[in-house]
Symmetry: C2
Subunit: 148 residues, 2 copies
DNA sequence: CTACGACTTCAAGTCGACTTGAGGTCAAGC
DNA sequence: GCTTGACCTCAAGTCGACTTGAAGTCGTAG
């Protein structure tokens, strides 16, 4: 199993060495040895980084991502918890879908004031209420994750 | 048109007054008058806040959101630009969909090592390449903004 | 063998998005 | 008329996710 040094990982993933060190520090990835001082990573790290970047672009914090994928890239979590994460993502997909529709609408709707356009209001309402709940939930999830 | 004072807006939206002041400072919303010192907002602000929270949960910065919806909540931008934002969101929906599928898969797949499971690798590959591009784009925007 | 460039550590800095704190103002209820 | 509580301003603090800088260490190419 041929190892990649941090420079190669950085080149292949597009993530700066400094960020890779930071991820390692945070326990998201782990280097397997050194050549001189240089960190050597197993090739799976590239896949793990992809997962990390997916999680990030989904708006999860590094802590949450670590929670999803565990220390070595794979979840040691009960299925139910993972499915709950997936549900959270599903909800987010819903919200994004509404946002996209809203944008397309405001781009094309010729009405003078969108605020009074019923189509617009309906679109905005789709994702509405959960947003408030969410901020609070996030905090509690983090707390829960810290006390296993 | 009955006005809402900042406390009511906060209660109805779940957003703290301090954050509302911050949004006003940032030009995302605007209060229309004062009663004593208290800011008074027009009722549309609630809709605007919904849009803002949608945008936030989609991972956009306040600046980007301001860019989408303009100073007073509605876009003054050319259609093409708005559609590009919508496309960006569409891409993100794609990524999230892949992430959700990946999570469901790791929750249920009984394989010993996911790293070698072809289903898993395929899922991860779905969203892959764009992430890198995105980070660079963001950075270059930032750089450009610093040198006007 | 030496110079180079890419890495190393560690501390400190940055950026966005707020929150918090100190000190002050107001309008409504008692 | 005075207190109370929710607001006000402005400066400073916080948190996450990195980046940057200084000072040092390697291994390879010339």
């Amino acid at each position: 199993m041929k190892l990649l040094d941090i420079g190669e990982v950085s080149a292949k993933s597009g993530i700066k060495p400094s960020a890779l060190r930071y991820y390692e520090e945070a326990g998201l990835i782990s280097s397997i040895s050194r050549r001189g001082l240089r960190r050597q990573f197993p090739p799976e790290v590239l896949l793990q980084l992809k997962l990390i970047s997916m999680g990030k672009s989904a708006g999860f914090s590094l802590d949450e991502i670590a929670g999803m994928f565990g220390r070595n890239g794979m979840p040691d979590l009960p299925r139910a918890v993972i499915h709950r994460k997936a549900d959270e993502i599903a909800r987010q997909i819903h919200e994004l879908t509404a946002l996209r529709a809203t944008l397309r609408h405001v781009a094309d709707c010729p009405a003078p004031s969108h605020m009074e356009c019923p189509t617009f209001r309906r679109l905005v309402d789709v994702a509405g209420k959960r947003a408030i709940t969410r901020a609070k939930k996030k905090a509690s999830i983090v707390r829960a994750a810290r006390q296993p």
